[in-house]
Assembly symmetry: D3
Homo-oligomer: 137 residues x 6
């Protein structure tokens, strides 16, 4: 059977502060600029979850995108939507909540959650001009 990649786009809103608690205030300001605001700022995030596999002959699906949506909603989006990445999200404890670290944390949760389908790629948009991608490397 042909192997196709199918993607579900999800959206959520969250607050964060990008800083390293082991840095001095000066270092944090120099490194992170306005993203270091101690009173937080936030984003409308957009997350593309892509899984890859053969088309099932009975359904014509690689994986029902409604089921993929439910998995991502339950395992990831419900834990971060309208939350503070630094204060509210257990799996980000002790991790600087850059888009890079967030996407790797999402990968660790989603890779086992979508089996037997194969998680192929995550793309996370933080603003209309900034996005990051991760493929498990």
């Amino acid at each position: 059977m042909p192997r196709v990649t199918v993607t579900r786009r999800m959206r959520f809103n969250a607050a964060h502060r990008v800083f390293n608690p082991s840095f001095s205030d000066e270092e944090n300001n120099a490194t992170f600029g306005k993203c270091n605001n101690p009173n937080w700022h936030g984003h409308n995030y957009m997350l593309d979850v892509s899984v890859e596999g053969p088309i099932d002959a009975g359904t014509g699906y690689v994986l029902d995108l409604a089921r993929l949506r439910d998995i991502v909603e339950a395992q990831v989006v419900s834990l971060v939507d309208h939350k503070n990445f630094n204060l509210d999200v257990p799996f980000m404890k002790g991790v600087i909540p850059t888009a890079e670290n967030v996407i790797v944390a999402f990968w660790k949760i989603l890779e086992p959650a979508v089996t037997p389908a194969k998680l192929q790629r995550l793309v996370l948009w933080e603003t209309e001009n900034n996005y990051v991608e991760y493929s498990g490397d």
Copy 2:
């Protein structure tokens, strides 16, 4: 001269908590749901600032959009970008930071700032599905 409306779109990111400090916790949760998260959440906001007037014969402009951008940047965007609407923004002190209240506060600042051009309309997008408009009424 013909009268044209010209618009500059601006973007900023901010955190907020939507709640009424005079409500009980139960009332706030019932009224504002997940927007009441005491640890904040945030958005990528998009703001369309529209001014209206006759076309200037010498320039072909109603108002140079680069100048409008600079006014809005200096008077509004620089005060809210990467900020917390509840904690960091003087003109939102004591005001519930809903999109409705934010847009009215922006209007009060921008209407005198763009004279002699006439501020005609503000549109503020909070998410890809929610936006508010205000025309000074």
Copy 3:
């Protein structure tokens, strides 16, 4: 209190055939072209529902957009999403399902449903290049 317009954007998918059953086949083809396909075609529709009113002092809302979303979902979207406008939608019976007729039918349902808020404007996108607006006139 200032009067603000607040909008909730909704999305749904539907099939339709644009034709007049009292026309001959030739007239229908000449008038409606490929939109007259007797085997149907379809669209991803986008609907912006705008209501207008004073800001409530207690909530900072004109109307909670989550509540507006629930009203539109229950009264309109759930009746047309993944449906056929010609065959499945009672309130379109006997009406040619152009975007113009659809938006007027939506208005008749939504205007009383959003009271005491005032329905101000509907915008319905049929494709990325075609949209219609109605304000109850």
Copy 4:
């Protein structure tokens, strides 16, 4: 019959130089900045043409949007697409090709061209952040 506004979105690419030939070089640079490049620059323009009228009982249309597209293509878009507004466009001769002046020129052409439908509004996007509107005033 209900009165609805229907819109067709069109797209074209063009070059221009924004300057006033009666100004000195210094005045042009001070007034128009990088838009005054004597070697031109260009844009992907987006134009929304809105006409308003009653719904026709026989067709369900205010005006067939395919017909509106053909009118706008023939009368406006074909004259400016892949053209230079300063050099190639007869109806812009002697006019500074700002978005404001372009939209007024388009209005003069389109208002009689869409009769008996009533041209209600033009919106012209020059970049993703700048757009102008005109309603014939």
Copy 5:
């Protein structure tokens, strides 16, 4: 010569019903939910066709995108636009019209049609949140 990937985005509207005729009604409802509506539903599809190859020294093109557009229009889009995937499209006969099966069918047609250029990737958007990719594997 450097090897570049060039993409042309195409759009079309179609109706479909996602179901397996060898399933019982109960199985079809359980498997396909509202996509199984026997009266059809539809989408505005967006298709990105990417071909890869060396830049031609004489033209600066890998493949003239206007020519690629004409090929895709003639071989694929004209056969599915404003059509019903289940009833009107010969190359989908007996195939469940999921996005996965549609994209594989498109690949089989387009791969030989774009030679000597090399078809590298197709992306098919069914809604603003769901899309599939295929590279011939």
Copy 6:
């Protein structure tokens, strides 16, 4: 450390004429059509610059996207924004300014400019329907 791809989207406007000076006028018209307008035309270009590398433990960044933006602005965007690709851009001298040739020229500049980060992919949008990608091959 996990390896992530981070992307910064940039935008600029430019004019160009797509033609081969060693071709006759007839050949240029036959080959390049309206893109061969001797009076130029133009576009709003969108450029995605992607670099790949391990996440830095101290910052949580692969590469600060504000720094990437500054590099791309200084090395590429400031040289082409509001310019004419044929007349104003030294690194395009003698090169047909197709999107394919532009993206390869950008690569040659940006690959050394982003070290020690690794330039992974450029994507250049010329219109909403046409884009090209290059990965240094």
